[in-house]
């Protein structure tokens, strides 16, 4: 039985009243503050309506939809399943590879086609590279949120190196359209494997450097430890996923627990927050899970590169994809931000009847009011930043 959450309060002042030095209790009043949609630290066009009492947040109401780009409508209007992939790219634009992979996987399951093994390996390599790139943005901007600008510059140098790899593969820096239904748009370019190996060797010490620079920085630890604690039960009840869930101490990773690809054949372990500097599930835990996941991804890339088989990169699929009538499927994958699911219903024609995208950021954001309530207003930016939302996916 899941009990309604009791929220951690780190602050002794009760909203509604303060005690003066003479022992008198003074009544305080609430004030409503609007934050966003144009605000440098909302990571996009999120708007938060905050009810504060002095410095303490009484309530926080997120308003979303400022980037609602009608993804689900577009899916229904497309004349071909393949055409959805570019739109899936644009949903979570920090992590486009994992998005297109998830959609391609859902469509493949719907059509009951198997892809060649080489494709699976390449997809894993791409997805893990993308995970690093996406976490690098998250970590860099989180540094800015906490007042440290320098890590942002370093993370973007490293991210550009990954983007170079993607660029030599498919010509695009941000939105790739590389993973197609039934395979890939084309095979890896020559020299890709060597350069990826070089990158892995280069990046490993950089993670340590970033940790020294940011994660174990005294000021950063003081700002993020014990802040925005998301208890385990609340996290599960809100279906939070990805690094945020693991930061709360839940050992759950779809790559291992609901395997959708060869990930479970590789040797790795999900990273879980342990509350090393504060409480389990605080902002620092979420941050450090991301840092450690980057290292984990490096291991996975190395193993996948070593095991990369030869072969075809396209399965034999019909030119016009027509799943059976009334077939439907829900496929969930572990994207950079958590459980990315696609629910596809087909009506037997070449365009999907209904596509629902279950974006991790949408769900992860919905827990924000629960974790900021009772905290200080100065911590709101840090808490919201630690969720690592991408508004394209929140609003779709």
């Amino acid at each position: 039985m899941i009990q309604p959450p009791t929220l951690p309060t780190n602050y002794t002042v009760k909203p509604g009243q303060i005690k003066t030095s003479t022992g008198k209790t003074i009544r305080t009043e609430e004030m409503i503050i609007n934050m966003g949609p144009q605000h440098p630290s909302t990571h996009g066009v999120l708007r938060l309506e905050i009810v504060v009492d002095g410095e303490i947040i009484v309530d926080c109401i997120p308003h979303i939809g400022y980037l609602h780009r009608c993804f689900e409508k577009h899916c229904e209007q497309m004349t071909n399943y393949q055409q959805v992939i570019p739109y899936a790219d644009r949903m979570d634009y920090c992590s486009a590879m994992t998005n297109e992979w998830a959609f391609a996987l859902a469509a493949e399951r719907l059509l009951k086609i198997e892809v060649p093994e080489r494709v699976e390996y390449i997809r894993v390599i791409m997805a893990e590279l993308q995970r690093i790139a996406s976490h690098l943005i998250a970590v860099g901007t989180y540094g800015i949120d906490s007042g440290a600008f320098t890590p942002f510059l370093y993370t973007f140098i490293d991210r550009e190196k990954i983007l170079d790899l993607f660029e030599m593969t498919c010509g695009a820096r941000l939105l790739y359209n590389y993973i197609w239904i039934g395979g890939l748009s084309h095979d890896l370019p020559p020299k890709f494997i060597e350069q990826t190996k070089e990158f892995v060797a280069y990046f490993r010490p950089r993670v340590k450097m970033l940790n020294d620079l940011l994660s174990y920085n005294e000021i950063f630890v003081k700002r993020t430890a014990n802040v925005g604690v998301l208890p385990r039960e609340v996290a599960i009840n809100y279906a939070v996923s990805g690094p945020q869930l693991r930061g709360s101490g839940v050992n759950w990773d779809l790559r291992r627990d609901d395997p959708f690809v060869i990930d479970h054949k590789l040797d790795w372990q999900p990273q879980v927050g342990k509350g090393e500097v504060g409480t389990v599930g605080d902002c620092w835990d979420r941050h450090i899970v991301r840092m450690r996941e980057m290292e984990q991804s490096l291991n996975m890339i190395e193993q996948a590169l070593a095991g990369l088989p030869e072969g075809n990169v396209k399965a034999a699929i019909p030119k016009r994809i027509r799943p059976e009538k009334d077939a439907e499927i829900y496929v969930r994958t572990e994207a950079s931000r958590g459980e990315l699911g696609y629910y596809i219903i087909s009506d037997g024609t070449a365009s999907p009847f209904r596509v629902k995208a279950r974006g991790p950021a949408f769900v992860n954001l919905s827990v924000l009011p629960e974790i900021v309530r009772g905290g200080l207003i100065a911590d709101l930016v840090l808490t919201a930043g630690s969720i690592d939302i991408v508004l394209g996916e929140v609003d779709r």
């Binding site: 039985m1 899941i2 979303i64 939809g65 609602h68 009608c70 689900e72 409508k73 229904e76 399951r109 719907l110 009951k112 609340v234 599960i236 009840n237 809100y238 279906a239 939070v240 839940v250 759950w252 627990d257 609901d258 799943p323 059976e324 009334d326 077939a327 439907e328 499927i329 829900y330 969930r332 459980e339 699911g341 629910y343 219903i345 009847f353 209904r354 629902k356 279950r358 949408f362 769900v363 919905s366 827990v367 629960e370 609003d395 779709r396």
Partner: protein
């Protein structure tokens, strides 16, 4: 537990709240075991009761609502589809509740799973299905004074919104 076992338990406990006699399946038959997805149809007015049972029962322990989607079936029916999964028992099940276009009401499950809150607001926003007993039923993605529900199959986009031309 398999879907069939879950269905049997629910049938025994909430017999009248399950309109279908057996497990439904898409893309193959449920019995043969190669279908893409099987689901249990539940009555739109009893979702909360059934979902609380599924969450709290020690055999079921469906602690996560993975996804909640609205569907317009283009034949006068709307549906809400619940994808549940359990982290403890590692099983999954799909529930569906249907309502008609004339009477689009479905009971909310946001008191069972906190995550349902925003998903249900999205269903209300994009399909116009009214979620009964929802704590805060407002539009979530579109502005409050938007006309129509975009994901309905018969949706016609409005020509102007506050003086801005909407179609290209």
């Amino acid at each position: 537990m398999t879907a069939q076992e879950i269905f049997d338990v629910l049938k025994a406990k909430f017999g009248d709240a399950l309109p279908e006699e057996k497990l439904s399946a898409a893309g193959g038959s449920a019995a043969a075991g190669f279908s893409l997805q099987v689901w249990i149809t539940i009555a739109p007015g009893r979702t909360k009761e059934i979902c609380s049972f599924l969450r709290d029962d020690s055999e079921m322990q469906f602690d996560t609502l993975s996804c909640l989607s609205g569907v317009d079936y283009n034949n006068g029916t709307f549906g809400v589809v619940y994808h549940l999964s359990s982290m403890v028992q590692k099983h999954k099940i799909v529930l569906k509740a249907f309502c008609t276009k004339e009477h689009p009401h479905i009971q909310s499950v946001s008191s069972v799973w906190g995550t349902a809150n925003w998903h249900e607001r999205e269903v209300f926003d994009l399909f116009g299905v009214i979620i009964d007993e929802h704590p805060d039923l407002r539009r979530i993605l579109l502005p409050d004074d938007w006309e129509g529900n975009p994901l309905r199959k018969d949706y016609k986009v409005q020509e102007f919104y506050h003086g801005m031309k909407v179609p290209y």
